[in-house]
């Protein structure tokens, strides 16, 4: 009972926030019904995907304060599990996605156990390294298509089981469902025992340990939670794109983007990843279509992301939401 109450309990937010979020949800629900271009539909789908990526990252990176820059490897595990199972054994998305999630979690334990012996920057660098190693492995692994990647064959008929639709609105609504599951889960998570323990670890690990918290194990658990979010979105990505390449789904770019959603929006806050995705995804789409046509400017988007990260680190580590909260505190006093 208490768990259910906690899932839907937003009482620590001012009414204004909830009204704004409610209106935003309403917009999300009716968006496919109002006239839109296919570009804006694609952008909205990207927005939902990156919100979910960011929510996942926020558990370990935001609440736990462990900057993880290797999340793409888990998106890759999810995507490849779904694609390989569909191509080889004709297994539907709804079966392969949980299996992909399980693989990703197992891998996250293997990675997390040694990596969480490290702290701060060392941990961040190590996560990048593990992700790039897995990328290299997938590029030479013939079973999963090597560097060419995998192409998912089209079914004759649209299928909910295999997540194949002619109309993007179906993808949109399925993703919206996942979005709300993720959102309410995080709303529970941030008030759970693990959520509190992670915030204490972020605050001061030595004090946290003296309060009976097994910091190492807490981080591993949160890392696995973050991983399951990312893996599911990875599986979805495979079905939505029909095509996955290691250089795309497991790239460093994706890892950094995932981390940036929460960091820009506000690490360690419920709204952070959503705000971050709402700002960064349109920016990314725009930069992509603009730079795509200009030879010699490839990679400029990365420069821009790097500048944003530096600006956040220097001025407001708690991101856009941090600015809002600061302004509110000032108004109160």
């Amino acid at each position: 009972m208490e768990t259910i109450r906690n899932i839907f309990d937003f009482s620590d937010f001012p009414r204004k926030d909830l009204v704004i979020f409610g209106l935003f949800c309403l917009f999300l629900f009716i968006f496919p019904l109002i006239p839109h271009s296919s570009f804006s539909m694609a952008t909205m789908i990207q927005f939902l995907m990156f919100s979910l990526y960011g929510m996942g990252w926020n558990t370990i990176g935001g609440y736990g304060g462990q900057v993880d820059l290797g999340k793409a490897q888990y998106a890759g595990i999810g995507a490849y599990t779904t694609a390989v199972m569909l191509i080889r054994w004709n297994i539907p998305f709804w079966v392969s996605a949980p299996i992909g999630m399980a693989f990703a979690i197992i891998w996250s334990f293997a990675i997390g156990y040694p990596l969480f012996r490290m702290r701060g920057h060392y941990f961040a660098i190590a996560t990048i390294a593990t992700s790039l190693v897995l990328l290299d492995v997938f590029q030479v692994w013939d079973f999963v298509g090597g560097a060419k990647g995998l192409e998912i064959p089209l079914k004759k008929m649209p299928s909910l089981m295999y997540l194949q639709f002619r109309n993007d609105a179906y993808y949109y609504y399925i993703l919206l469902g996942l979005f709300f599951i993720g959102f309410f889960y995080i709303n529970w998570f941030r008030k759970s025992r693990l959520g509190f323990q992670l915030r204490a670890i972020k605050d001061n690990e030595e004090v946290a340990r003296s309060l009976g918290i097994n910091a190492h194990w807490c981080k591993i658990k949160a890392y696995a939670i973050a991983t399951s979010f990312v893996a599911v979105v990875g599986s979805f990505h495979a079905c939505y794109n029909f095509n996955i390449e290691p250089e795309d789904i497991m790239s460093l770019d994706l890892s950094i983007l995932i981390a940036m959603m929460a960091m820009v929006g506000g690490a360690g806050s419920l709204w952070g990843p959503i705000i971050g995705a709402a700002v960064l995804v349109p920016l990314k789409s725009y930069l992509g279509s603009w730079l795509g046509g200009k030879a010699g400017l490839a990679g400029l988007d990365l420069v821009i992301y790097a500048l944003i990260i530096m600006a956040i680190a220097a001025f407001e580590p708690r991101g856009i939401w941090g600015i809002v909260e600061k302004a509110r505190r000032r108004k109160r006093t």
Binding site: E2, R193, E206, S210, L211, A215
Partner: protein, 248 residues
């Protein structure tokens, strides 16, 4: 009376430096024990050895009938031995009540239970007005109380207090004294404290242990310690003795 904490021949080396040399003592259930000594005497090192932050070089430690030598800090605290830190650094992600809830979450999974216990401790420690503030915004005296409250929320049998009176003014020291008494008498928690504020240690301790350069040089009732020539030479100093005599 039975000992709740027993330290047997604990030695701790940092490279070539011997911070604790063969220290043995025990703390009885319900006792209030003071640990004093000059800076660098090894008091905090001893605390950290007991609380599991450091592994001991030699010796054994028992708590509540169980050996805890080289246990991890979280294991020690789960058994009911809580501690505070000299400097309670909080970057400001958690409010006062949330900090205390982290402590009470050790004994429950339920948020409402954790919150209820935290509220009780807030009342007990007189932190009501700071309830929703960030710890970093508070004055030193209140920060120390938050640190104690957070440790208390883990429902310990014994509490190690590391310099809770440092940096406080005389009024605040008086308040701290009655607070420690409250924790000790009303809640029935065994207390061991490191302290430089003599007024506080000598007033509330049942027994005092003195460390100097890693060695235990004296142990006894506060009145005996005040008279002990070795302690006066190593730590208290002639000035303190003169003051005491003038006061008497």
């Amino acid at each position: 009376m039975t000992p709740i904490l027993e330290v047997q021949g604990v030695t701790k080396d940092f490279g070539g430096l011997r911070a604790n040399n063969n220290i043995s003592f025990s703390v009885q259930k319900g006792e209030l024990l003071g640990l004093i000594g000059p800076n660098g005497a090894g008091k905090s090192t001893l605390f950290n050895c007991i609380a599991g932050v450091y592994n001991v070089t030699a010796g054994r430690i028992f708590f509540d009938g169980q050996e805890i030598t080289n246990f991890k800090p979280y294991e020690v605290s789960r058994l009911g031995l809580a501690r505070t830190f000299q400097i309670f650094v909080a970057s400001g992600d958690l409010s006062v009540i949330e900090n205390i809830m982290v402590g009470s979450f050790l004994r429950t999974r339920s948020r409402s239970v954790a919150r209820r216990r935290a509220e009780e401790i807030i009342d007990l420690m007189g932190l009501g007005e700071h309830r929703d503030h960030w710890v970093s915004e508070l004055p030193v005296a209140a920060q120390k109380r938050v640190a104690m409250a957070t440790a208390l929320a883990t429902q310990p049998k014994m509490l190690l207090l590391d310099e809770v009176a440092a940096g406080l003014n005389p009024t605040e020291i008086d308040e701290m004294m009655s607070l420690i008494r409250k924790i000790h008498y009303d809640m029935g928690i065994t207390v061991m404290l490191i302290e430089h504020v003599m007024e506080l240690v000598m007033n509330i301790s049942h027994r005092v242990i003195v460390l100097d350069s890693g060695n235990m040089i004296a142990e006894g009732k506060p009145e005996e310690i005040k008279q002990n020539p070795e302690v006066i030479k190593a730590y208290l100093g002639e000035r303190y003795v003169a003051q005491q005599q003038k006061g008497a």
